[in-house]
Structure formats: structure tokens, C-alpha cells
């Protein structure tokens, strides 16, 4: 089985799965009494049809890249971190902390510290379940999901009792200093004379791209990544090979939590400019689907993240323009894509890889035959 066949087969499987989800989505939209073709047109225009729509799509995609990478890093060590929600949420403490410590700093000076602090808080939140899993054999899926609830309660307590502005009834912190607002793309475009409506897409999108490159390097081109993959592929062989499996598993899950923590920087310093209740809601869980569709590789995670960004943004336009398509219907549509492209990814992938590799063989044989004749 060649690598090309594997790659092409995976892409084909993902596309077919997404197509299945969209067809079922069309049935759903027809069922609530709207024209599916028009609805999809609206959704696609909403997500990609205008510069500001595109900017929203990419802003959401930035979050999905972080949460997708988080799931992928743990997955390479055969660990299923589904605590991205909580780790991103607690990561917000790091971002907010830096914003409170350095209220005078320009955004570009505070950004590296905010990144480090958010990653540290995300990693810290992942560390406890990771340690319990490696040392005591507790089940990571159970503990990380429990830690999502703990994070939620902790943050409600902190926001309501400590960060809330005096006299405000809104469950959020006060706004961060304006000099800490991350540079947005509409501002950059403005500098080139292109005017678009304000949208939250900011420099964290570039950080996300850099994170993709860094994770690719780390996992496939360093000894640490090599040992990580050894642990994931065959933990017994890895321990015979002198790898400290427990330590590596803890490190991988902490890095995973750290990546999820970056969502906080994007949302707090880039978009909402305050620490709001449930600011990271949904991003962590969707990261699981993103990583699955992207086959745990940054090159796959990026397009998968954009797909989900488009679903978020297109879905918003849809429910805005079609009164009978409620927010819930949009959620169901997203759920269908997760179900097909994420949950059923491994059902179709082997078949499609086999089919592609058979096709490739055939075309090779065909070419060889032609050159033989000529």
C-alpha cells in the first residue's frame, strides 16, 4: 500500500463522508419546509461569499486548529484527551492573568506571555488526569470529562465572585485594556486601503499556522516525537527500547492541554476582549471531530478546521435568513458532519484506500501496457 494511495484514499473517504452528511442535511432542511439548495447556497455564501464572512469562518477555524491539534498530539500517544473544553476554559485564567499583570503593554509584547501562560494553565488542567492515568491507570476519558465539569464550576465561581466588575450583573470579567486587543485582519486590510466590516479574525490565526508547523516538526522530526509515536504504536516495545512510557504520556497530554489553552488567547485577547462565561463552549469537543477527519495530521487538521469554521459561520447565516431553520437545526447539521466525517471516518477509510490503491495499480499497469505497445 503506497503512501500516495493512503493519503488519497483518506481524502476521498473524508469527502464522501462529508457529502453523505450534506445529503442528509438537505433532507432535514426539506423536512422543516425550506428549499435545501437555496439553504446551502446561503450557508456557503455566508461562510465564504464575503471577506468578513470568510474572516469569521477563519476565526472559528483558528480555534478548531488548536483543539484539533490538542486531540491529535494525545492521539499519537494512544491517549484520548476529551478534556479540551475544560483545558481551554482554564487556559483563560492565563490569558486574563497576563492582561491584568501587563495592562500597559502593547498587544505584541503581551502576546508571547499570554501564549505561554494560557498553555501553562491548559497543561496544568490536563496534568492531573494525565498523572492519574499514567500512575494509577485511571481512565483518561472519564477523568478528562470530569475535569470539564470541574473547570466549568471553577470558572463560574471565579468569574462571579472575583472577576466580575463591581455593580455589573453580567457574568464576565471587565474588559481588558484596549492596547491589549490583538491586531485584527480587517485592521491590516484597512492599511492597504481595503475596507471590510469589523471581524474577530486576528494574528492568532498565524499562531495557529505556526503551531501546525511546530507540531509537524515535533512529532515527525524530533526524537521526542519519535518516542511519542513509539509509545502510541507499541507501548511495550517502547518500554523495552528505554522510553519512559509514563512520563511521555504525561508530557503528551500536558502538551495537548496547552494547545487547547491557546483557544483562550484567540477568544479573550482577539475577539471578546474579556473573560466571559462559557467562552470556549463547544470548541474542545469539536476538536475531536477535526482531528479525526484530519487523520491526526496538521495537514489534515487545517482543512478540517476550516470546514467546521464554515459550518459555524454558514450555519449562523442560515438561521439568520431562514426563520424556520432554528439554531437547533444548525446544530443538528453540524452533528451530522461530526457523525459521518468523524465518527464513521474509520468505516469508509480502509475501503476507500483499497479502492484508490487498486485504481493506481490499474493505471500504472495501463501506462506500462501503453509504453510496451508504442
Amino acid at each position: 500500500m503506497s503512501r500516495t494511495a493512503t493519503a488519497l484514499g483518506s481524502v476521498l473517504a473524508a469527502l464522501i463522508n462529508i457529502a453523505f452528511a450534506l445529503v442528509l442535511g438537505a433532507v432535514l432542511i426539506a423536512a422543516v419546509g425550506e428549499d435545501p439548495v437555496a439553504a446551502f447556497f446561503v450557508a456557503i455564501t455566508g461562510a465564504f461569499g464575503s471577506l468578513d464572512g470568510l474572516a469569521y469562518t477563519l476565526h472559528y477555524a483558528t480555534n478548531f486548529i488548536f483543539s484539533g491539534l490538542a486531540v491529535a498530539v494525545a492521539a499519537h500517544a494512544m491517549q484520548f484527551n476529551i478534556g479540551g473544553e475544560g483545558q481551554a476554559y482554564v487556559g483563560g485564567l492565563g490569558t486574563l492573568g497576563i492582561c491584568m499583570l501587563l495592562p500597559w503593554a502593547p498587544w505584541w509584547a503581551a502576546l508571547p506571555f499570554a501564549i505561554l501562560a494560557s498553555m501553562a494553565f491548559g497543561a496544568l488542567w490536563a496534568f492531573v488526569p494525565a498523572y492519574m492515568a499514567a500512575r494509577r491507570g485511571s481512565h483518561l476519558v472519564i477523568t478528562t470529562i470530569m475535569f470539564n465539569f470541574l473547570a466549568s464550576l471553577l470558572m463560574i465561581y471565579l468569574i462571579v465572585n472575583h472577576f466580575r466588575e463591581d455593580g455589573s450583573m453580567i457574568p464576565s470579567s471587565g474588559p481588558i485594556a484596549e492596547n491589549l486587543f490583538l491586531l485584527r485582519f480587517d485592521q491590516i486590510l484597512m492599511a492597504f486601503g481595503v475596507e471590510i466590516p469589523e471581524s474577530p479574525l486576528n494574528v492568532m490565526a498565524l499562531v495557529a499556522l505556526a503551531a501546525c508547523a511546530a507540531i509537524t516538526f515535533l512529532i515527525w522530526h524530533t526524537r521526542w516525537g519519535y518516542e511519542l509515536r513509539a509509545v502510541g504504536a507499541n507501548a511495550a516495545a517502547a518500554s523495552f527500547a528505554g522510553v519512559n512510557v509514563n512520563r511521555l504520556v504525561v508530557q503528551a497530554i500536558c502538551l495537548s492541554g496547552g494547545l487547547a489553552g491557546l483557544i483562550a488567547v484567540n477568544e479573550i485577547m482577539g475577539a471578546q476582549h474579556r473573560l466571559m462565561l462559557d467562552f470556549a463552549l463547544g470548541y474542545g469537543f469539536t476538536g475531536i471531530a477535526v482531528a479525526m477527519i484530519g487523520a491526526n495530521h496538521p495537514a489534515g487538521i487545517m482543512p478540517a478546521a476550516i470546514l467546521f469554521g464554515a459550518l459555524y459561520q454558514g450555519g449562523a447565516s442560515l438561521s439568520f435568513l431562514f426563520p424556520s431553520v432554528s439554531r437547533d437545526v444548525v446544530t443538528v447539521l453540524q452533528g451530522l458532519v461530526i457523525l459521518f466525517a468523524g465518527g464513521l471516518a474509520h468505516v469508509l477509510r480502509p475501503i476507500s484506500i483499497a479502492a484508490v490503491s487498486a485504481l493506481l495499480e490499474k493505471s500504472k499497469a495501463g501506462k506500462a501496457g501503453v509504453s510496451w505497445n508504442s
Binding site: 515527525w220 522530526h221 524530533t222 526524537r223 521526542w224 516525537g225 519519535y226 518516542e227 509515536r229 513509539a230 504504536a233 507499541n234 511495550a236 516495545a237 517502547a238 518500554s239 523495552f240 527500547a241 528505554g242 522510553v243 519512559n244
Partner: protein, 530 residues
Amino acid sequence: MPAEDRHAPAGRPPAVQFVNLSKSFGTLIANEKVTFDIQSGTVHGIVGENGAGKSTLMSVLFGIYQADEGEIRLRGKPVRINTPAQAIRHGVGMVHQHFMLVERLSALQNVILGSEDGYWLGKRSAKARARVVEIQDRYGLHFPIDALVRDLPVGVQQRVEIVKSLYRGADVLILDEPTSVLTPQEVQSLFTVFGELAAEGKTVVLITHKLQEIIDVTSSVTVLRHGRVVGTMRTSETTKGRLAEMMVGRKIQNATGHRSQVGTDVRIAVNALSIKDELGVDRVRDLSFEIRSSEILGVAGVSGNGQTELIACLAGLERIDAGSVKLGALQWRSGQSVSPLQIRQAGVALVPEDRLRHAVVGSWNARDNSVLGIQRSGKVPGLGFRMHTARMAAWCRALMEKHDVRPLDPLRRTSVFSGGNQQKLVIGRELSTRPEMIIVGQPTRGVDVGAIESIHASLMAERNAGRALLVVSVELEEVMALSDRILVMFEGRPMGILERDEFNETTIGLMMAGSSRADALAQVGQEACS
């Protein structure tokens, strides 16, 4: 007319006939136009190197795979066998290398499992019991039928497997490497059973890579090479050497000839070592030995008698409960622990017993596996904090060239290499760091004859170059060929250490079954006198 028809009993069709049978997996041809007959009421051997197509052929006969071409005839009638259930209905039974028994059920329950003959067990079990006893008496296959399988020794479990097949009406019984887990004495009694079965008109098909067994027990033999039949002949008309040549396609040399003087300084010392498992059961008890430079200490024993735990302990993966271990400059005792990495850094190379589970990552390519375990040795060019994949590929290619790993493709998936080539890659990798101490578990398990030669030669070269080696193997012939001294283990206890001039299959066999060194030597001495 094929030659073997000469000795067919007149008027009785062969039990099994393969006619131009072919089977391939993608581009890999496992069996090509295989044609031969197995006479009924005989013990028929099938030999061949790993990957010669023995197992595939038998899997086709047992309905696990379907042939691409050709046909199978049972008692002269062409049949289609699509599932093991159909094979059993046609009277074909198979005893796998790894037994398919439920350990927590009794022997009787295992025998009737899957052929219970109705939902209500109570009434039938008396009938079943009578039939099992009848089968036991008829073929001399005795075992306590109400004992739990997990309490039975391996050799007895195998009898349960055989009775299970006979209970289901097997006429043709396929045994895949049945002797690999038995002591020599158990092997003898298994062969006696084969004789009884053949005398009662059953057909026994013995798949093995041990040529001595073919000579000892079969009446005819088929040699396979590269998926094709090289020849089918009466065993009485051939020899071990001739069979080996047919298997490999060339003459075999004995690679273990020259032996330099055993060194003086002790490199590996194990002192009163005891290891318990999680349940507190002794796995290794009061074990002591020393290995000097230029010395190979062989560890013989039926598998599961503490060898695995000993290797895991020397690899740093098992806690010591009492005693101490010294590997070069590294020394630790109970209560202390060392990491596998420390052990490797002390100059120890390790070839684990179970290749695909412990020595390589099957789903990786050869390049990535060619540095597994030595990734922190600093001896691989291009592998520091950063991994330069191109330079690693060059390293792997050089390793593969030196140890004749074929095909020479560093990017090939490791699991699709043959067992012998995987093992040559593992051994080449472990020797590449010039270790002072080498611990080898089952150096040639699942490895073909050609590769065995080259692996033995590599190990002997290391010995003669001054290294201390511990070689654990269940192959007696191998331990006897390689070792300077042999330690025999039984139920985790040392039964004694034999010097080279005391090596003798019977002595070792007795010790493997629990006799002390003195008793075994005395008994063999008596037999020699009488």
C-alpha cells in the same frame, strides 16, 4: 502419475489431495500450483522455511482462506471449504500453535464447547463424557477430564485440543508446530499418540520446521519452498541434510564452529534473584549465575518457566523481590530500581523474546525500527534531539546491507518483512552500538533456516570478540549449539548449570521437567551403562 502413488494403499483414495492450488495476497504469492496427496492413515509432514506457504496451505484446507485456483479433494471427492465450520463438517480438524482453549473451563467443557448438541447441557454431558472417555482410551490420550484447563500443563492442554478435534469427528488432524512448547519427553508421548491415530486410520498432518521430528515420526513428507512443492517423498528414503537442502535451496553450513577461550572477568552476575508477579506468585526463585566475557550462557526450559520474567528483569522492566543483579558497572538489588534506559546506557543490548510485541513497531517502516532502543545511544548519525530522516535511512540501509536484510528497502513496512529478516534487522540494530553485554530471547523464533545460520554466526562472532551473552531459547538444539554453559529452569527455579561436555538432550530434557542436575546426570549415566 505422481511418484507417491506407488505407496498408496490399494483401493483407498488419499485422505487429502491438493490439485494445482494457488493462493496469493495482493502481489505476494503464498502458494503456487501446489499439487500433492496425503495418504489416509499416515503421519504426513510438511516442512518449509517461514514464508514458504505451509501455514497458508493449511489455512486454505481448514477454510480460513479460500484458494484463488485449484481444488482440494477429500477422500477423492472435490470439496469447497469456505469456513472452519465447513472444514470440521468435512472431518478436518486443526490444533493451532496457540491453543484455543478457555482456561477457566474444565477439560470436558472445552471439548464439547461449540458442539454442545442443544441448549440444555445437563443431560447431554453424561453422553459427552462417555464419548470423551472412549476417545481417550482408544488413542491413549489421557487427561483428567474435570480439571480446569488452566491447571493442566501445556502438554496436557495439547491433548485436550486433540481430543476436541476428534470429538468433532476429525479424520484429518492438522497440527501446527505442536512441539514448540513441549519438553522432549512430552514430545515423545505426543509422537506415540500420532502412531495410535494413524493405526486407527486417522490422518495426521504435521507442520514443523524441526527436521528431526519429520525423520522420527512421519511416513511421508512434502517440502515447500517459495509457495511451491519441491518434492513429496517417503521419509525412509530421505535424510535431514537432504530435506534441509530442499527447504533452503542450497547447502547449509554449521556456523558455530570456532570458539575462543572463555574470558576471565565477570560481566553479568545474578545473585539469589527472586521475582514475584502481581499476585505474589514466585516467577523466578533463588536464581544465581555469572557470565564472563567471551561466554554464552544458554537458558533452557519449557517456555513459561521464568525465562520471560528473567529477561524483563534484566531489561529493567520487572522489580526484584530478593537478590541482586549486576550488569557491567550497573548494580541493583531488591528495593532498588533501574530504568531500561540506564541499562542500555550501561552497554547492554537487548533482543526481546516476542519480536512484534517487544522488539519492533510492526506498523512502522524499517528505517524507524532500525533505531528503536538505540535512539539515545548517540551512535546513530543524524539522530540527536532532531531526527534527520534521510540520514537515518542511510543508517538503516547500511545495517540492512551488513546483516543481509531483504528486501533492501528502509521505507518498507516492518510487519511485511519475513520473520527472519525482521530478526536480522533487530539483531543488527542491537549489535550496532558495540554493546559489552547482550541479552537475547528466542534468537530464532519464527525464523527460517537461512537466517538462523546468519544469526548464529553473528552471535558467535560477538562471543569471540569478548562479549558476554545470555541466550534464552526453547530450541534445545540451538541452546546446545551456541552455549558454553547451559542453565536449565523449571518453574522459575534453576535446576542446575551444565558444562559443555555434559550437554545431552536427555539430561536437559529431564531437568526441564523438574529433575535436579545430579539426578538427571545419574539417570542418563545409568542408561548409558545398561
